[in-house]
Assembly symmetry: C2
Homo-oligomer: 598 residues x 2
Amino acid sequence: MRYRVPKREFEFVLREVMNIEQLTQHPGYEEVTWEMLQMITDQVAEIAEDIWLPSNQIGDQIGAKFKEGEVTLPPEFHDAINAIRDTGLVTLFAHQEYGGMGFPTAFEVLGDEVMCATNMALATMTGLTKGAYRCIHQYGSEELKALYLPRMVSGEWFGTMCLTEAHCGTDLGLLRTKAIEREDGSYQLSGEKIFITGGEHDLTDNILHLVLARLPDSPKGVKGISLFLVPKFIPASDGSLGERNAIRALSIEEKMGCKGSPTCVIALEEAQGWLIGEPNHGLRAMFSMMNHERLAVGMEGVGIAEIAYQNGLAYALDRLQGRDLKGARYPEQEADPLIVHPDIRRMLLRAKSLIEGMRCLAVWTGISIDRSQIGGATREANGELVELLTPIVKALCTDLSCEIANDMLQVYGGHGYIREHGMEQLVRDLRIAPIWEGTNGIQALDLAGRKLPRDMGRLLRRFFHPALEFIELNRDDTNLKEFVEPFAKGLRGLQKTSMFLAQKGLGNPHEIGAGATDYLRQFGLVALGYMWLQMLKVAFAKCDDEEFYEYKLITGRYFFERVFPETISRAVAISAGAKTMMAMPDAGFAGDYRFSGS
Amino acid sequence: MRYRVPKREFEFVLREVMNIEQLTQHPGYEEVTWEMLQMITDQVAEIAEDIWLPSNQIGDQIGAKFKEGEVTLPPEFHDAINAIRDTGLVTLFAHQEYGGMGFPTAFEVLGDEVMCATNMALATMTGLTKGAYRCIHQYGSEELKALYLPRMVSGEWFGTMCLTEAHCGTDLGLLRTKAIEREDGSYQLSGEKIFITGGEHDLTDNILHLVLARLPDSPKGVKGISLFLVPKFIPASDGSLGERNAIRALSIEEKMGCKGSPTCVIALEEAQGWLIGEPNHGLRAMFSMMNHERLAVGMEGVGIAEIAYQNGLAYALDRLQGRDLKGARYPEQEADPLIVHPDIRRMLLRAKSLIEGMRCLAVWTGISIDRSQIGGATREANGELVELLTPIVKALCTDLSCEIANDMLQVYGGHGYIREHGMEQLVRDLRIAPIWEGTNGIQALDLAGRKLPRDMGRLLRRFFHPALEFIELNRDDTNLKEFVEPFAKGLRGLQKTSMFLAQKGLGNPHEIGAGATDYLRQFGLVALGYMWLQMLKVAFAKCDDEEFYEYKLITGRYFFERVFPETISRAVAISAGAKTMMAMPDAGFAGDYRFSGS
């Protein structure tokens, strides 16, 4: 596996398209200059390329080992974590008062991309730690924050999210883990959790579990769930480790991929925990973490798609097979490289145009988070845009990236199916991303069922208004005209399906559910179209300077010609509505064989 | 994993839609009555469900073991092969003169479906044996046929295809394995082959390798390739095993899936072989095998999609999670089953409508092979239809089925990613199918580059004429009108892209390559639409008799409403042509990072 951080791409998106340097005008971001970002990028690149990347196949082959309640990870994983600890890279994202550097989210998402590209299993664990940090920071008491946050920022202690139980995944209202208040104001938790990523391992001295549980007499369903911090070791107030808490891993799962990241069954047997936030409001606190995680999962997609693309491309340039259909391009060689074949170029250009669009969308979401935290007049508008884009980034980027990883495996032919080349690992690792942190079907329902109807479409307008404005401003631009036209058509199509779902959904919620996944895909592709318009505008302005911009024009043109048209068929599918989908009786799905059923 | 042979579906397609009983009027097929087919189906079902299915996960977990040139397969694989040997099921397909039963291909493809559903790794090896049988039968000398065929028919000896070498997969013109004639008229072969499925194993006493190699002074490229039969043990004329031949496995590959099927590196060191067919005409002989294999690989897709669907459905009926968006459907339970959720129904109905369409397309292809062998006026027309449909069945059925297997894994949520449920194995096993026996990109080029332009579109007309005729005959049918209209539009779209590619391709072969994959998908979906029209016609005629037909109407309606519209966006993508795709210089693909390149 080969990988280089695409630094020029990062610069293009962050600086030239999204104008990240404007942030330096705002308090807290003064030091985040482009020079600083470049320096950090170089540092991240060195660690990712030299230390994380070689650990990735080892993680897949050796994986996490479980023995008598302990989980051991390969030495290369320890080295990888030490490398980011030693350089202080783990502190980038966190608040300065807890030892962090307060870097913008727009930059953080690209850091996530690089770490996921080079070792997704490991990046998942550091990502959850960041999420747990945010959750404790926003909802935890001052005591909890003072005790735990600095050690998470330093990378000494990792965090987890403990939501799922055997009988409840998406439907958290069913969860059964119990918490009882103790005399000292802490709680005693009992229950069993499954699918706990990083629930046990030897990378850190302590592990901080954020656990959803029910207090006695709490309301049924999701309104009776509280959130607790349950450390593996109970620290003294100076942070020194005390007693081993009664939270233990019972086993780890055998999985399709992501084998370097232990997925644990966790038992709590009167384990000691501390309440985070208000009783019975645990989901709100957990979802402050979850929304950031969803963005991070989107970057798992972009990261894996990027490394898959880089290797697919390298193979297409190296492997000699067949001849250019127009006649030998390199008659002196026994065959031409794969890249002469249009169908190989189709897969590569589809990947490239999608990756660059997705990256831009994620950075836009990231910088909107940053802007929403700066305050001022646009604070609310930016926050609403983030709410709208989060499910799109999560689901679109993971679905498309699974397609890309599979296409890049395909470029290798039979060699892609063989372990040693590493392509099949990418496909296996990434396959979890459309599932965790809310399946992509749940993301689609969040978009179509919650975000779309909110306040008569106010969230939608956070996207539609700037997009329509862009069309108005650039419709007569000689260069952009070619792209603005199909985009405007695609945007009108999206407005139409939005209206259709909003109206139909009022009387019948099945109509929302029936169209949701196609709607998210349609919306996502239109959003990528908007990103490409912005990238193309920059590229046209500079294309005499550097070939880089010329390549951008070709890639963007490819996107509009060959990828964007999918929006048309998605719109037609949505317009069919829910009727046929809901008409099939349970018995009709099986026809003549039935195993079971309600 | 659960699985039941969908017998009622088989009856519907074979008997009611494709009228297989008509074949009994023709010499050689007199005994192939519906009662006989039912009896065989019951027998196949028993073995597949009770013996093959339980062996499948064992094959994945234990896999093929390599030690000192020998490959060992799990005992359950031996039992599975013994079961079909003992019942004589391996003889179904073969000619009566060699001990076979001469069953129609239309029926054989469904047998392939069942075997692939329950153990694809094993079915691959029996499938290759059938392919090798066909190749020897068609091109081998009478001596070779008499010696080898009866033992292949009885399942005593298996066959392989030895094409690929390390430096050549698709591009067979590059192959280097050498053959020199010996004094006794046999040949001596030396070289190394890779990716040889079933190249070594302990399931049979002998393995018959069909090996592509070059004779001395043969022309360069594909015109200098000959085909040889190289047995592992050289049999005496009575079939008793003699000397061990110098063809040996050097290693087996570690793969993403299909682990029960050993993929071998094979060395030939002056191994003894016998020429099959004419010198330098080896590819023609090999491709007589290959075309049947391509149909069989399509059935790997349909089989895996079917078992994935059955399990996804069972899980959707059993797993309680969330509530119907319109309010609890089962208020007495703590949650409703997954199947109440529209997005779960979307995935299931997409799978169901595609599987039934693909199965019908494969049976149509199969019965066209049978009709082409019967002779008479339609012989040639049927043969041409088969040529047209073969790349479509191979590529469409494997691509769509990979999507279906992934969707059915998604129905399971996190549980789908865990080994024990078996869903992730299906995804891994099937991932090879879009690659082997000619990648799906090669299938698309075969369709758009060879089949489309042949004789001014004569092959195309073998599909377009009956489809247009169906439209003419049924356009005013009150029931069918709803479906005929979108189909007619889709067919016109396909005619338009066919014209576009034919015209553009004349001047510039890149235009063919650029549109090929989208064209195959568009063609495939239109072909499925034609299958659905025929199924719907039968269903309307009988829908008062049995609920089964009512379910067919819903499934077919779902297909036209929500799956078929993809044809629109594929057509738009094709119309963009090759220009942008070919405009990107090699350097432009990478931008700022480059690993290598010509």
